[in-house]
């Protein structure tokens, strides 16, 4: 029995002595270790804020910040270093951005990414000196639009986060949310459910039309304003389109469908060759040409244009499905439809699209018997 007790006492005593020694060592070294780790972290933060002095990790749980913001370090002179995670061509692009007390970008660097072309490694330099007012003026990089646009948006998020953390307010709603809110403000009875109406009739001063899903009304966009208009609503509700039998006409083979509206306008659906254009023939590596449609007046003026489907290179030619691209053709005619901004890095897609729009004008002329 004595033997066991002696063993237990000896082992317990040694454990206690070692524990005491360790706690004493910890008391001595812990502050130094903490200081070293803080200095190492500061070193990384100094890359994007070279003038920074001391950084403290903030608790951002009580703030409503852009979704891309994952960490914020407050700098002692009033600036912030914001860590963001966004998605460019692929997910997981981690960006560190410094914003000084005046709301100006002091530096931005990409800590990790899975992008293929590497534009994110140096793009941050372009954003230095920008503020929330002019960050959108930083150009994206041709052929790397998606990556650089995501990067620029992340830096904008960092600038917005700095404004919010500084006590200001920023509208963080997406474009879709803003549109929905604007429409709901004009027509609350629609309960937020609207469907864009493809304009087949000319409506004076109207750039877009949204029909309430529950039939409670129609909202028109005139410039920056959203309005209700009974006379125009009657045109929209009364407008019908009917597919035409085009067998009697010699239309280009790329024309897939022609409709005529009750107002006498044509809606032409046509295939466009995208990446890899080859004269008049289709040459599309994916086997899926771009499909677009445009409503055109008998006089040959485009009322509206939109891309119905496409399988162009993601992040490059796929921009042809972006309203900012295809709405450029609205209001154009045969004399000026080529005067649109091309898609960066996707000249072949743009040219294919333009060629198809040109064929729509030819189609309308044939149908009107003027060709």
């Amino acid at each position: 029995m004595n033997k066991y007790v002696k063993s237990i006492i000896a082992l317990t005593a040694i454990c206690a002595a070692v524990a005491l020694l360790l706690s004493a060592t910890n008391m001595l070294t812990a502050p130094i270790i903490e200081k070293n780790e803080s200095a190492a972290a500061n070193e990384a933060l100094l890359v994007v804020m070279p003038e920074g002095e001391d950084f403290t990790l903030m608790d951002i749980s009580s703030y409503t910040l852009p979704e891309t913001v994952t960490e914020v370090y407050a700098e002692s002179t009033g600036g912030y270093v914001v860590k963001l995670t966004t998605a460019g061509y692929s997910t997981g692009m981690v960006i560190m951005c410094g914003v000084d007390a005046t709301g100006t970008v002091t530096g931005a660097t990409c800590l990790a990414s899975n992008e293929t072309l590497g534009a994110e490694k140096t793009y941050g330099e372009k954003t230095v000196g920008k503020t929330v007012a002019d960050i959108d003026t930083v150009d994206t990089v041709a052929s790397m639009t998606k990556t650089t646009e995501a990067y620029r948006n992340a830096v904008k998020d960092a600038l917005n986060a700095a404004v919010i953390l500084g006590g200001g307010s920023v509208d963080l709603r997406s474009e879709e949310e803003i549109l929905k809110d604007n429409l709901s403000a004009v027509l609350p009875a629609a309960e937020g459910a609207f469907t864009p109406w493809f304009m087949v009739e000319e409506l004076e001063g109207v750039s877009a039309v949204y029909v309430a899903d529950n039939g409670s009304g129609v909202v028109f966009r005139k410039g920056e304003e959203f309005v209700l208009d009974e006379a125009l609503s009657a045109v929209v509700v009364g407008s019908k389109t009917e597919e035409m039998d085009t067998s009697a006409y010699e239309l280009h083979s790329s024309v897939t469908k022609v409709e005529k509206s009750s107002g006498g306008n044509y809606v032409v659906e046509i295939k466009a060759s995208g990446f890899g254009i080859n004269g008049d023939k289709y040459y599309d590596p994916s086997g899926e040409p771009i499909l677009l449609r445009a409503s055109v007046t008998p006089a040959g003026k485009i009322i509206a244009c939109e891309t119905l489907q496409q399988s162009e290179t993601e992040g490059i030619g796929s921009a042809c499905a972006d309203p900012s691209f295809y709405t450029q053709f609205n209001g154009k005619d045969e004399t000026n439809y080529k005067e649109i901004d091309a898609i960066s890095g996707a000249t072949l897609t743009t040219n294919g699209y333009k060629t198809a729009v040109g064929r729509i004008f030819e189609t309308v002329k044939i149908l009107e018997g003027v060709a």
Binding site: S7, A10, I14, V18, L22, T25, I32, N36
Partner: protein, 226 residues
Amino acid sequence: MQKNSNLSVLVKGLLLENPVFVLVLGTCPTLATTQTVIGAFAMGLAAMAVLICSNVVISLLRKVIPDTVRIPCYIVIIAGFVTIVQMFMHAYLPELYDLLGVYLALITVNCIILGRAEMFASKNSVARSALDGVGMGLGFTLALLSMAVIREVFGAGSFAGIAIPFIKDHTIDILTQAPGGLLVYGLLIFAVTALTHGKAPKKKSFGCEGCPSAGNCMSCTGKEEN
């Protein structure tokens, strides 16, 4: 030099009883930390510090620690010193701490330290145990350094991180990898065996006796396992 003189205790670890090349202990950290000279030197010094401290304390407590719980007691003491060394390196040598990584904590289970505690410190005076710690620590450090010099110079074309002209363009890449490490290890064991021919201790003189499990091992005690 007398076999049991203090000087012989100090120098035997350098070559005749070198823990790495003769006793073949601590092979894992030897292979893992000898890719760079700096890493090997840091590991050698850290292990030496733990070896000296644990040898001294175990020797001090050798008459207090009951035989039945000696191994747990040794492990607690060694783990305590390893953690202390870790804390100090983390605080004052953070770059080396990061370089050694998990291998620093693994000094706790380094056979050299437990082996010397069992073979020497538990049977000798504090002063001689300290000398044994210094000698074995130096032997371990020298062994790591000799391996690291060969691996870094010919494998990476640099010495302590400084590129060596000409060699850096004609490196033997495999030396920086595990198979290359084993190859160098084998060649150095061959060289040390050749150098100490007839003088190095035979296996039986340190084999079972020095093994921490000697008391329980069937082949040592001749007892059948239950």
